[in-house]
């Protein structure tokens, strides 16, 4: 459940993990859908070093952005309303704090950042910034702000607000789960340690210019400026609401929060002064909270609601896809997600590579995919197929229980052994774990299930001798933009193999870490292909040691009513879950 803890978060951050129960996870992941094949690594690595984008020429940047809005803005009439349901509470709409798959997208509609993504893609475009410039050494970013952008309270947004907002996120008192992303900004350590009262790296030469200096190059900086944690908030409103700003959010975004009844509903109302012409399309969005996914789907079929935020429950999937009345309302897309079984290399007998390989061969992935209604494709490597660097020629460990048994014998555990398989206790994960358990039983591994709430599973994974095996479903890693490094550093690299880390296999291969660093240093866009290829090799080498048994790559499934529509790809947006609220329009208002 996901819920929502920051744990269940998914998101458009640099490294994000997926969320919540299966359904949720799917949506969580929809953010990534579609991205990669079309536009390989380029957006991922915005080439900080030499490239200066749109230097001093606001015009082209602005045009790009205009162009992005064009196809929708002209033809579509504003008006109408829609209703979205979620099972769990919306925790907060504070951009510095909100970090789960539901509020992530909502925050994007209430607030704006300097940069944004072109709808339906992961291509970075200017947003509150009109243009930006990157210094040749990659150590300074200069953003020129739009004029006349107003907060919902009527005050104009200026450079000081940008600085204030970033400092607020990085301020340890805010306890933002995203603060860690901004460590490259000059003065970050001193500010965090409260040795400085401001982030010395952020300066505002005038009301419409923000300069950010870095202490070391960070190829992800542009993404960070499109990330919720950098979104701009008005100081006076934050001070007015204090710690409850997340319940009384005021931003510059397309929607204002008109009503918030805790535990029941949140109503978004169109911001008539929104700086982007013609957006948003809808007058009103109502988010209803606390609805069981099955019930939400029934209501959608009856036309009472427009988007079932938690997706299609497994029980109804076959029916929805076969029913002519509903099948066209479903969008299925690939997403950058891999469901895997981690094996803790510290815990015998998983310290033996043969045992880990045997587990890889023992799992009947096709059968498991069928269990979840074919909403996934079998996986054989950590990277999902849509990710640059994915090695199509690699066949992995094919299903072969006999060979697996031989490997166990070779490892000296031919008579089998007993171990624990941890799993989050939300459907369908216990069911998937039972299928894995059964497969392992066939080669003599008796895996006892530990079906627990996700906080406990994650805590066990972060302990050196905590969890021998974990089925990652519901907590799985979902990348935010198509860069293979997202699938390595924290979850397979030495850096994540620490107490409380996310490398649940505790796999640490110094050689691979060194190769990863090298690959990440290839920041020139011309090297993108070579870099992706090198990453691909790294993951294939990881699989030689088999700390994971990749099981499947899940697809994202979104269902919406006939009453709402949007431009192509809107219901499979890589950034927004379940949909980019700004771009949706009401068919009955046309």
């Amino acid at each position: 459940m996901m819920n929502r803890l920051m744990i269940s978060v998914s998101i458009a951050a640099l490294l994000a993990l997926g969320a919540c129960g299966e359904k949720k996870e799917e949506q969580a992941a929809s953010e990534q859908s579609q991205t990669a094949p079309a536009q390989p690594a380029a957006p991922a690595e915005p080439a900080p070093a030499p490239a200066a984008q749109a230097p001093a020429e606001p015009a082209p940047a602005a045009t790009t952005q205009e162009a992005a809005a064009q196809p929708t803005a002209g033809a579509i009439k504003q008006g109408g309303a829609m209703t979205v349901t979620f099972k769990d509470d919306i925790s907060t709409l504070d951009p510095a704090i909100g970090y789960d798959w539901k509020n992530w997208s909502m925050i994007k509609s209430v607030f704006d950042g300097l940069l944004d993504y072109k709808p339906g893609t992961t291509e970075i475009i200017p947003d509150l910034a009109e243009s930006y410039e990157v210094a040749p050494d990659g150590l300074a970013y200069t953003f020129k702000l739009r004029h006349g952008v107003k907060f919902h309270n009527g005050r104009e947004m200026k450079a000081a607000d940008v600085k204030y907002s970033l400092e607020r996120t990085c301020n340890p008192d805010t306890a933002s789960p995203g603060a860690g992303y901004y460590g490259a900004i000059k003065g970050f350590e001193d500010f965090q340690a409260k040795k400085a009262t401001e982030l010395s790296g952020i300066t505002t030469p005038d009301d419409y210019t923000v300069k950010i200096e870095l202490s070391h190059p960070d190829s992800t900086m542009l993404h960070l400026m499109a990330l919720n944690f950098s979104f701009v908030v008005p100081k006076e409103e934050v001070e007015k609401s204090g710690a409850d700003f997340g319940k009384h959010p005021v931003g510059t975004g397309a929607f204002k929060v008109a009503e918030w009844t805790s535990g029941q509903k949140i109503v978004f109302e169109r911001n008539k002064d929104y700086f982007r012409q013609g957006l948003p399309h809808l007058d009103k969005i109502t988010f209803e909270i606390g609805q069981e996914p099955v019930v939400a789907l029934l209501r959608l079929q009856k036309g009472e609601i427009d988007i079932a935020g938690d997706g299609i429950p497994p029980a109804k999937y076959a029916e929805v896809l076969q029913d002519p009345a509903t099948k066209d309302l479903v969008t299925i897309t690939d997403q950058l997600q891999t469901g895997y079984v981690s094996m803790n290399v510290n815990i015998a007998p998983f310290d033996k590579v043969e045992v880990r390989q045997a587990v890889n061969m023992a799992i009947d992935k096709d059968a498991i995919v069928k269990l979840i209604n074919n909403r996934a494709v079998p996986a054989n490597q950590p990277l999902p197929p849509a990710m640059p660097g994915y090695d199509k020629s690699y066949t992995g460990y094919a299903y072969n229980p006999d060979e697996a048994k031989k490997l166990l014998e070779k490892a000296g555990v031919g008579s089998g052994f007993e171990t624990d398989l941890y799993v989050m206790n939300v459907d369908p994960n216990p069911r998937i774990a039972q299928a894995i358990q059964q497969d392992l039983g066939k080669i003599g591994i008796k895996a006892n299930l530990k079906s627990l709430d996700q906080g406990t599973v994650i805590a066990a994974g972060g302990k050196k001798d905590g969890a021998p095996m974990i089925w990652s479903g519901g907590m799985a890693w979902i990348a935010d933009f198509p860069d293979p490094s997202n699938f390595y550093t924290a979850i397979l690299g030495c850096g994540g193999a620490v107490d409380g880390g996310w490398n649940w296999a505790w796999y640490c291969n110094k050689d691979l870490d060194a190769r990863a660093d090298k690959a990440n240093a290839m920041t020139d866009p011309a090297q993108a292909d070579a870099r992706a290829a090198e990453w691909g090799k790294i993951f294939i080498d990881v699989m030689k040691d088999a700390p994971w048994a990749p099981v499947f790559n899940e697809k994202a499934v979104v269902i919406h009513s006939k009453r709402v529509a949007g431009p192509d790809g809107i219901f499979a947006d890589p950034i927004h879950i379940p949909v980019n609220y700004d771009e949706v329009y009401a068919t009955d208002a046309q």
Partner: protein, 306 residues
């Protein structure tokens, strides 16, 4: 009497302190690290420590409890780790929905229980009597999720008589109240049946019946006044039973009450909410018990308040 109540209130306070200590110990023994949850995935070890310090999670346990207890005295239930909001606000915003649901459930219990019980009594030892009593026992024995799901699918989805889910209007209230109240209705039916039978045995009632007094009148005039006090006592005790029921019923019907809040908090190990809800529920239960005990001597003069 005032002395007794005062003593009971002091006792209640001690009980609640005990409840808070035990819950505190249990929640802090849960195998999850709140500081890491708050700090997020990208946090460095230093940042996690910073958060731990900021939220006072690095203090020794007794000191943490003292901090919490001090807050309690001021009515501060702490702040949710996940929602970053005052727990008292979260509970207060959901309490009305739960109270409404409880009221609805009590109404259903009484309506179903009193009607069924007196009907059974008037037709004592007939098939109708047996049917009602077995029915009552059946509802007492049926898991609440089964009742809730069945009501939802039959009356909302198939027949379309009630909205599928949600909160706000009277028709939203009906099914959840019935789901929560059926169980208690079974108990009340059994109780009502025996008290009605007792009244019917009395001579003056027999005479009245012979004179043609209607059944409804007998129930209203003679049975209910006597049966009212035990019913009040039982309602006091019901609160404890409801606390379990609402977790299931609220989640099935999407009712925005304490039950859903609790369940979400447990899933995410949001300790301050778990603590807060437990305390509020304990308060309700203790008050309900007090009510039941205060009523007891009125029912049976042999019981004295000591």
């Amino acid at each position: 009497m005032p002395g007794y109540v005062l003593r009971r209130l002091v006792q209640m306070l001690l009980t609640l302190i005990g409840v808070s200590v035990i819950t505190f110990l249990i929640t802090h023994a849960l195998p999850a690290d709140p500081a890491r949850q708050i700090a997020g995935r990208t946090a460095s070890a230093a940042q996690v420590e910073q958060v731990r310090h900021q939220f006072g999670l690095d203090l020794p346990l007794p000191q943490q409890y003292l901090r919490y207890a001090t807050g309690l005295i001021e009515g501060d239930l702490g702040r949710s780790y996940v929602q970053r909001t005052d727990v008292s606000f979260l509970i207060a915003s959901r309490l009305p929905a739960t109270l409404l649901l409880m009221l609805g459930a009590i109404f259903c219990e009484l309506l179903i229980g009193l009607t069924a019980g007196s009907v059974a009594a008037f037709r004592r030892n007939t098939a109708a009597d047996q049917g009602v009593m077995i029915g009552a026992l059946f509802f007492v024995s049926t898991p609440q999720f089964l009742v809730a799901y069945t009501l939802l699918y039959v009356f909302s989805n198939w027949l379309g008589w009630f909205p599928l889910s949600g909160y706000g209007t009277f028709s939203h209230l009906v099914l959840p109240s019935v789901a929560l109240g059926l169980l208690g209705g079974g108990w009340y039916a059994r109780m009502m049946r025996s008290s009605t039978i007792e009244v019917l045995r009395q001579d003056f009632v027999r005479t009245a019946r012979a004179k043609g007094l209607s059944r409804t009148r007998i129930v209203l005039v003679h049975v209910l006044p006597n049966g009212l006090l035990p019913i009040i006592a039982m309602i006091g005790l019901d609160i404890g039973y409801f606390m379990s029921g609402i977790v299931v019923v609220e989640s099935v019907f999407g009712w925005p009450g304490i039950g859903q809040l609790t369940w979400q908090a447990i899933q995410t190990i949001d300790i301050p909410i778990i603590m807060g809800v437990t305390l509020v529920a304990a308060c309700a239960i203790v008050l309900g018990n007090l009510l039941a005990d205060l009523v007891a001597p009125l029912i049976d003069p042999r019981i004295k308040l000591k």
